[in-house]
């Protein structure tokens, strides 16, 4: 690459002809342009819509500045309930996935020898099979004729199939926990894999029992992986409207559903855009918090 510069010590930034940014531009500009046009501009247009309003009589968007959409979000208790429910669900799913991810990530990183690759691939397969199909699978498990009910009736725990499992917040929680779990296992595993083996041996040699090594060495060093996984599971739950529609009950609407419905029957795009902006803020706050936890964890 450094054709004109035979000396090995020269770093690209020390070159005299062109600053690094200009040298990077030919390689960078295609993706930069693509992302700016097809992602940043749409985000800008989204924010623009959030300060417009809908003329509900003529069903057209009025392109005039107003904060009315934000006002209805702030004052309507429905929006507050939905936002709270979604955040609770996202946090609950994230915490559960951290707990569930650890045994698998730990086994793959430290305990499995020849089976390591197989165990790793077994995590990838659910991740790569359709999300829609895995959500739907829970419908066939939790439904009235589903496997769970058939089982509970067969072993005489229930006298007749219960309709309580499907179409509930619990069904949504189980499904989210299941479909996002690989997104937690992979980064936690990657973090564990980076822990030097000598560190664990040293802890053992110094007489630390297994649980102390785990608590004081393994867990703190896995924090970056947990943070990466938590960002994924939290954001995925915040942006989903499919699982609530498939498995949720009457009180299971999440922000994703409320936003999506503004673009369907309700036709209030500015309100949907404003609610999206609120979601963006919630996710941004979570990102900052997660990164702070991550920084504190690695600084120890």
């Amino acid at each position: 690459m450094d054709v004109a510069q035979p000396t090995r010590l020269a770093t690209p930034s020390s070159r005299r002809e062109l600053p690094a940014i200009l040298r990077a531009l030919p390689l960078l500009s295609p993706s930069l342009l693509w992302l700016a046009v097809f992602y940043l501009v749409p985000l800008g247009i989204l924010l623009l819509h959030s300060v417009w309003s809908t003329d509900t009589v003529n069903m057209v968007i009025v392109r005039q500045f107003t904060l009315s959409s934000y006002q209805s979000i702030a004052t309507d208790p429905l929006f507050r309930d939905v936002a709270l429910r979604t955040i609770t669900m996202a946090v609950g799913v994230t915490l559960t996935d951290i707990v569930l991810a650890f045994p698998i990530a730990y086994l793959i990183a430290f305990r499995l020898g020849r089976l390591k690759t197989l165990a790793f691939m077994l995590v990838l397969v659910p991740l790569w099979s359709s999300y829609l199909i895995r959500a739907y699978a829970w419908k066939t498990i939790l439904g009235l004729d589903g496997v769970l009910n058939s089982f509970l009736v067969a072993v005489h725990i229930l006298s007749r199939p219960s309709p309580a499992f499907l179409y509930s917040n619990l069904a949504m929680f189980i499904t989210f926990t299941h479909v996002w779990l690989p997104f937690m296992i992979l980064p936690v595993y990657t973090a564990l894999e980076k822990i030097p083996r000598s560190l664990l041996e040293a802890a053992g040699d110094l007489g630390a029992p297994g649980w102390r090594t785990f608590l004081h060495v393994v867990l703190p060093l896995s924090v970056p992986g947990i943070v990466a996984g938590a960002i994924a599971t939290f954001s995925l739950t915040m942006g989903d409207y499919i699982t609530p529609q498939l498995l949720g009950g009457p009180d299971s609407q999440l922000v994703g559903n409320v936003i999506a419905s503004q673009f369907g029957v309700t036709f209030n795009w500015p309100l949907g855009a404003a609610f999206s902006a609120v979601v963006l803020v919630i996710v941004a706050v979570f990102l900052v918090l997660a990164n702070r936890v991550g920084a504190a964890g690695t600084a120890r």
């Binding site: 790793f120 199909i133 053992g204 409207y241």
Partner: protein
């Protein structure tokens, strides 16, 4: 790992972790196994036990024109999105790896946004964008949406590999008189080839599976997940179990292929 004999407490702890791991794997696989089993069930109700065994649901797929058209659309969109992402993502990874320029971190952050921000936000932002500029929704708008979140997948994969390729290789090529293009073609590209491939495979499966963003960008022609979603909302048909099983089978093959590609490199 640790040479000293295990204390009873440690042995118990290890057993507990192993047992927990097995349980979590069961949780991951139970739904998939049940779908595959029901895809061979003669009954149209997914109840236990299975009434009888049949292949008829798989035969039905072959005769379902709407489904086959949706499958074709998904393959086309996936391949096109991945092609765009491979070119843009690989070039960007090279730029990020090679040069330290102001805004480098900002660019990386921006590239990650399409997969970090909630899908519903990405979806409606793009919908509003296309509507604002009077662009009709079609498979092309779906393609643009998919390519946008596929770029970072390829970028991350290639960047992770580039960090591990010894710098001396490219420098030696330069010292021996190769120009930038020759160095890229004969030195850099062979060393990142499998990372590009595994990134492309992952990007393809993401595109092939995507429904949250796609929902807002779809015009007349459905992708496969959109077709499945449409049918799920109407109600259950046993055919869906067979489609689901085929999708699982294909993902098994792709996972094995990508791991084989990565191993070949190592």
């Amino acid at each position: 790992m640790m040479q000293a004999p295990l204390s009873p407490a440690d042995r118990l702890g290890r057993g507990a972790v192993a047992a927990a791991g097995v349980l979590v794997y069961l949780f991951l696989y139970l739904p998939l196994v049940i779908l595959v089993l029901f895809s061979f069930d003669t009954s149209t109700i997914n109840g236990w036990p299975i009434a009888g065994w049949t292949l008829s649901w798989y035969q039905k797929i072959g005769l379902d024109d709407a489904l086959l058209a949706a499958l074709r659309n998904s393959l086309t969109v996936g391949l096109e999105a991945v092609s765009i992402a491979v070119v843009l993502g690989t070039l960007a990874a090279l730029a990020i790896h090679r040069y330290r320029f102001p805004g480098r971190e900002v660019f990386l952050f921006m590239a990650t946004l399409p997969i970090v921000l909630p899908g519903v936000v990405t979806g409606i932002a793009m919908l509003l964008f296309f509507h604002f500029f009077n662009i009709d929704l079609s498979l092309t708008t779906v393609l643009i949406g998919h390519a946008t979140f596929c770029i970072v997948v390829v970028l991350n994969n290639v960047l992770a590999r580039l960090v591990r390729v010894p710098k001396e290789l490219a420098e030696a090529a330069g010292d021996l008189g190769a120009n930038a293009l020759q160095t890229f073609w004969h030195v850099t590209l062979p060393s990142i080839r499998t990372a590009v491939l595994s990134g492309a495979l992952l990007a393809f499966t993401l595109s092939f599976d995507e429904v949250v963003v796609t929902f807002f960008l779809t015009g007349r022609d459905n992708t496969l997940p959109m077709e499945i979603w449409g049918r799920l909302r109407i109600g259950f048909t046993p055919e869906l179990n067979a489609i689901a099983s085929l999708v699982i089978a294909v993902s098994v093959v792709l996972v094995i292929a990508s791991q084989a590609a990565l191993r070949e490199q190592a």
